[in-house]
């Protein structure tokens, strides 16, 4: 093949229909309050981890809703489980449980359990 000195770039677009939303399904099953999130970001602004890590619970929940598994796997382990988000959430979303279940889902995907 010929070297052209430039490459075809991957599509940045989120392809909703080809994405797999099993993480969302799994989390929703154990923690229905994930549906209550209105993406206000209070959790992310209270977050201890976010001070130093590229981590946002608000983003994670949206990524779950869109089925962006790789992005979730990349950041979900940065949580410290300190629980400030849960105290802060104006809608009473059980945020820590959501993160925990996302991690569990990620493990289950690796083990081909879901």
């Amino acid at each position: 093949m010929i070297g052209f000195g430039y490459k075809i770039q991957a599509d940045r677009q989120i392809d909703y229909d080809s994405n797999n939303r099993r993480i969302l399904e799994f989390v929703r099953d154990g923690e229905p309050s994930i549906d209550w999130c209105m993406s206000c970001g209070t959790c992310a602004s209270a977050c201890t981890a976010a001070m130093t890590a590229d981590y946002s619970l608000r983003r994670l929940i949206i990524q779950a809703r869109r089925g962006m598994e790789n992005e979730i796997r990349e950041s979900v382990y940065r949580c410290r489980f300190c629980g400030k988000c849960f105290n802060a959430c104006p809608r009473g979303v059980n945020t820590r449980n959501i993160v925990y279940l996302m991690q569990l889902a990620a493990t289950k995907i690796t083990n081909h359990e879901i």
Binding site: R12, Q13, I14, Y16, D17, R59, I62, R65
Partner: protein
């Protein structure tokens, strides 16, 4: 007994008519369409409690049934006035006189075809919120143009509102909550369907609106995506592919919909023959009728004895429109009682 002519037999017009009759005034209602009730004829259920529109409509109609003069299919070709009152010419031959006139001609609904990139009128499964409301009303099952039960339905907010390209900079106010209401209604009819709302801002301004929004999320799992549709495309099978930015992720997103509902906005009447221009009244920047003083005398126009209420002065809920109708009735009544000396600010004094 003095005479009032109400132009526009919609919610505001009918309620004001009923009140004025009860106050002993001779009322004439002029309606351009062939039926009374205005927009209420188009709605199935009213937010936030999803109250059926029918009973309210018939109540409004019944209240005005007896003791007043009704003219439908009326086309107003001219209005003359002096300090004593008004002469309204309809259908080119008939003349109606009145000591006072109330304008309740309402608003227009944005023509969705103007947002070409959304494909309304071109793509088969793009409908407007008004059409959806009528589908609910017909009681027929909600089906796609291909006759299937839609498994994914998207609601596009702000179609023709807050949009320079659409020529409307204002917010139509009622569409957000209407979208939430319709989303819930459709979810109840098709529980298996995925419902998405694409919003710029969610303006749950009214009492009980936030609760409805929460119900949509908590109870029905309806999804809200902060995005504004750039363009839609029709797939060979008639489904739609939409392209949005998931603004909270700052990433473009594409997805397929079986049906797309455009939340068409409310805009001022601009068609030729509209009374605002015919009477040479001033419009605000947004094109709606300018109120002389939104606080002091919101219903007064610059023409003595000419009043306005309802959608003609901007987007309003039916609740608000009814309240305005009752208030304007009281003010017109005061005006007719003390016509000679009336300046328009007495109603404050009189109510003290």
């Amino acid at each position: 007994m003095k005479s009032v002519t109400i132009i526009g037999g919609g919610v505001a017009g009918l309620e004001a008519a009923a009140r004025l009759t009860r106050m002993g005034q001779a009322v004439t209602v002029i309606e351009k369409s062939d039926q009374l009730g205005g927009r209420l004829n188009q709605w199935h259920a009213l937010f936030p409690f999803r109250t059926p529109a029918g009973p309210l409509l018939s109540k409004l109609r019944n209240n005005v049934a007896e003791g007043m003069n009704m003219i439908v299919n009326a086309n107003i070709t001219g209005v003359e006035y002096n300090d004593d009152g008004f002469a309204i010419r309809i259908n080119n031959n008939r003349m109606i006189t009145a000591n006072s006139v109330l304008l309740t001609t309402g608003f227009d609904i944005f023509d969705a075809e103007k947002k070409e990139e959304y494909g309304y009128g071109i793509y088969e499964n793009v409908i407007t919120s008004v059409e959806l409301e009528q589908m609910f009303h017909s009681g027929k099952p909600i089906l796609t143009a291909q006759g299937n039960i839609p498994s994914r339905i998207g609601f596009i907010h702000c179609v023709g509102s807050r949009d320079e390209k659409a020529g409307n900079l204002h917010c139509s106010k009622v569409c957000c909550v209407t979208a939430v209401k319709q989303a819930i209604e459709i979810k109840e009819l098709i529980p298996s369907a995925e419902i998405f709302l694409y919003y710029m801002d969610l303006r749950m301004f009214g009492r009980h609106f936030e609760e409805l929004y929460k119900e949509a999320q908590f109870k029905h799992g309806i999804q809200f995506i902060r995005a504004r549709l750039s363009e839609a495309f029709e797939n060979p099978d008639g489904t739609l592919q939409i392209r949005i930015e998931d603004t909270l992720l700052a990433k473009p997103l594409k997805m397929n919909l079986d049906m797309m509902v455009l939340m068409v906005g409310i805009q001022p009447q601009r068609k030729t023959g509209n009374l605002i221009d015919m009477l040479g009244l001033e419009r605000d920047a947004d094109g709606f009728l300018m109120q002389e003083d939104p606080y002091g005398s919101p219903f007064k126009t610059k023409i003595r004895g000419l009043y306005c209420a309802g959608g003609i002065t901007g987007p309003k809920t039916i609740e608000e429109t009814l309240i305005e109708a009752r208030a304007v009735a009281a003010e017109i009544n005061n005006y007719l009682k003390h016509k000679e000396t009336y300046t328009g600010h007495e109603h404050f004094v009189m109510e003290l």
